[in-house]
């Protein structure tokens, strides 16, 4: 087991979660919960792969993935913002729909290879001892995009005027409405943005970080983990990024645990009884639950919480107005 490899891989795969989670943070901060990330990611992964394959250009694929996720999310917007339907159920149906479309249109893509977003080593920075190897050596361009996304998202939400409006719409939509900030328009906008990020996250799997189309196994529940990550991160992009990277590293660690015959000077049980590996496979999902429990009790202690209007449809004239 090589920890440099684990850290390096964790940063790479963590990027997928990070992108999806930050997108969802935007959406939820506006008061809309979109549980359909898994479906939008899978659709994005398929669209990215298929378009990259047919055009031979990974960047066009990336654009297609972003649009696919965004367009699908608009359905969620229509149903929850305009029709005021339950956000949980709508998010679920988005998952089914995204999965269904992706599987139908992705028929026959399995096993193909396609153009991908290239990897890249940053000059100078990669020479930093140890950290350079983990953070700046042979990473996908999207991983570097992830690095940039963290401060940008944070600054946007907390230090800009549109960010102020975003938070106002999710916390107290009627206040925003009385000041001429359009609640509906902003909610549609950030639902769309969240969808675009989910599509991008999907493509970052299929044509960038671990290229290929493996039908529904391409995402294998990472969309749901991203939703959990948002709660764990208390709607803060920085914490979401940390959580995403940590999660990526843990997954790689669990994978690597199966390799060596000896572990910490003892016989490695996972090496000698292959069936115990099932418990390792369980671990990420179990960890997600534990992270949720831990995250939400920490939130209670610090009196942080979900945006106050999260999940509530806004109807002008319902309360006070």
């Amino acid at each position: 087991m090589n920890f440099t490899v684990i850290f390096h891989a964790g940063i790479a795969t963590g990027t997928i979660l990070l992108i999806a989670a930050i997108g969802e943070i935007f959406t939820e901060r506006s008061g809309v919960q979109n549980l359909g990330i898994e479906g939008m990611m899978l659709l994005g992964a398929m669209a990215g792969f298929k378009i990259a394959y047919t055009t031979g250009n990974a960047w066009v694929g990336l654009l297609a993935a972003i649009l696919a996720g965004g367009i699908l999310s608009l359905l969620h917007g229509l149903v929850t913002i305009s029709f005021q339907a339950d956000q949980t159920v709508s998010g679920l149906s988005l998952t089914f729909l995204g999965t269904g479309i992706a599987l139908v249109l992705g028929e026959g893509l399995t096993g193909l290879t396609t153009a991908t977003i290239p990897n890249f080593t940053v000059p100078l920075l990669s020479k930093i001892p140890y950290l350079g190897q983990i953070l700046f050596t042979d990473h996908n361009l999207l991983t570097y995009f992830g690095y940039l996304l963290i401060p940008i998202a944070w600054l946007f939400i907390f230090k800009t005027k549109p960010g102020l409006h975003l938070r106002a719409v999710g916390e107290k939509p009627d206040a925003a409405d009385t000041l001429g900030v359009s609640v509906y328009r902003l909610r549609y906008l950030y639902t769309f943005i969240g969808g675009c990020f989910a599509g991008l996250a999907g493509a970052s799997i299929s044509i960038a970080i671990s290229p290929g189309w493996y039908s529904h196994l391409t995402t294998s529940g990472q969309g749901w983990i991203a939703v959990a990550l948002v709660i764990f991160a208390q709607w803060n992009p920085t914490r979401a990024a940390l959580g995403g990277y940590l999660f990526g590293m843990l997954r790689r660690l669990l994978l690597d645990l199966q390799g060596p015959a000896m572990l910490l000077g003892m016989k490695n049980p996972f090496f000698y009884d292959r069936n115990l590996v099932f418990f390792l496979q369980m671990a990420p999902y179990l960890l997600t639950i534990i992270a949720l429990v831990w995250g939400s009790s920490a939130a209670r202690r610090k009196r942080l919480g979900a945006p106050a209007a999260l999940g509530e449809p806004y109807i002008r004239g319902e309360r006070g107005l």
Binding site: Q84, V89, G100, V104, M282
Partner: protein
């Protein structure tokens, strides 16, 4: 002059037939939309749909297959409807189904009783109990997390689904594998639910008909769920908490306890479905006994507007979808149709809250007269 949609909030109650009509409309429209998508990928939707029909209702054997598939869907649909009534989003029926199958199988695999000496009724009874216990215990986890720590049950139940699959795999591959295959040894006949083909000697027509007793469990469960939800004190409490938890708390109800209980009851129904599947269909514990039943259950419950008797009808439709879908290419079609159905169903709920009419407008955009009083589909 122009036409536009005039949307008005309903001040009167909606007609009683409207919810059922929107569900039927949603299903029909879903087939239309899916057909369009199929056309766009070069498939022939008419051929696929007629194949759907013959594959699912073309013969008695096919019908029996459909009902066999509908049985777990019925129980799981009921499980979901029950939890949804209290606005608990139990998406984990899949996991509870696996745990029910696992617990029921343990009666045979351990074995818990002497399989030679115990009467069949007792063995099957014990399997049922264990199946429901497994599901209930697995429902307890998200229930208590939601009730005590207010943790989103959608995520916990989904994660528990994955965990249940790996848990079962461990026992199937690691402990009870039949010569290394992804299944345990076949259960002895004593652990099989009776099925119609067992009576082929007396009635020739039953030969090869795999319909088993589990469907009766499902029908009884539907009646019980209906009694609880619509006739009992507990059902009243569930309805009240589902509509307004604050009012329920103010009325002195213990919400924490009811969340846990409802989750466990829901889990028990899904667990029973797992038992019926291993004991009535596959006769062993094996991998992939569920083809996303948990998710279909969500859609079934919603399409049935949480009405237990409507769940029976809808689960037959979905059984057909799955039976036919097994042999259909591309493989995602039934998923696609299910997703579209659910979307249309929740969208059509807007018709219960608003009236939507097409109106004629003059050049100032003022409404001239109603063109049609009929309610139009909003999509």
């Amino acid at each position: 002059m122009g036409l536009r949609l005039d949307v008005q909030k309903r001040t009167e109650d909606y007609p009683k037939w409207l919810p059922a009509a929107t569900s039927v409309g949603a299903v029909l429209l879903a087939f239309v939309f899916s057909g369009l998508i199929l056309l766009s990928v070069g498939a022939d939707p008419i051929r696929i749909y007629s194949f759907f029909w013959t594959a699912s209702f073309g013969s008695w054997g096919a019908v029996s297959d459909v009902i066999v598939k509908a049985t777990p869907l019925l129980l799981i649909g009921l499980a979901c409807a029950f939890a949804f009534k209290m606005k608990l989003w139990n998406i984990g029926a899949e996991g509870q189904f696996y745990m029910g199958a696992f617990f029921a199988s343990m009666v045979i695999l351990l074995p818990m009783v002497d399989l030679e000496a115990t009467p069949k009724v007792l063995v099957l009874g014990l399997m049922m109990l264990m199946g429901m216990l497994g599901g209930a215990l697995y429902g307890f986890i998200p229930g208590i997390l939601r009730a005590k720590y207010n943790i989103n049950e959608v995520i916990t139940t989904l994660m528990l689904n994955y965990i249940a699959v790996f848990w079962n795999n461990y026992w199937i591959f690691g402990k009870y594998s039949d010569a290394g295959f992804q299944m345990t040894k076949m259960f002895p006949k004593i652990a099989w639910l009776p099925r119609l083909s067992d009576f082929a000697k007396q009635y020739k027509g039953f030969s090869g008909i795999t319909l088993h007793l589990g469907v009766i469990f499902g029908l009884i469960a539907a009646v019980i769920v209906w009694l609880i939800l619509y006739k009992s004190r507990w059902g009243y409490k569930i309805t009240l908490i589902g509509d307004n938890p604050k009012a329920a708390k103010y009325a002195g109800l213990n919400i924490t306890r009811n969340i846990v209980l409802v989750f466990m009851f829901s889990g028990a129904l899904a667990g029973l479905a797992g038992m019926a599947e291993v004991s009535g269909v596959v006769h062993r514990l094996q991998e992939r006994i569920s083809t996303n039943y948990g998710f279909s259950g969500v859609i079934i419950a919603w399409l049935a507007k949480l009405n237990p008797f409507a769940v029976i009808l809808v689960s037959v439709l979905f059984g057909a979808l799955i039976v036919a879908g097994r042999e259909i290419q591309p493989s995602g079609v039934s998923f696609l149709i299910q997703g579209i159905i659910l979307f249309l169903v929740i969208s059509s709920d807007v018709l219960l809250k608003y009236t939507i009419r097409v109106v004629r407008t003059d050049k100032n955009g003022e409404i001239v007269q109603a063109k049609s009083a009929a309610v139009e589909e909003a999509e």
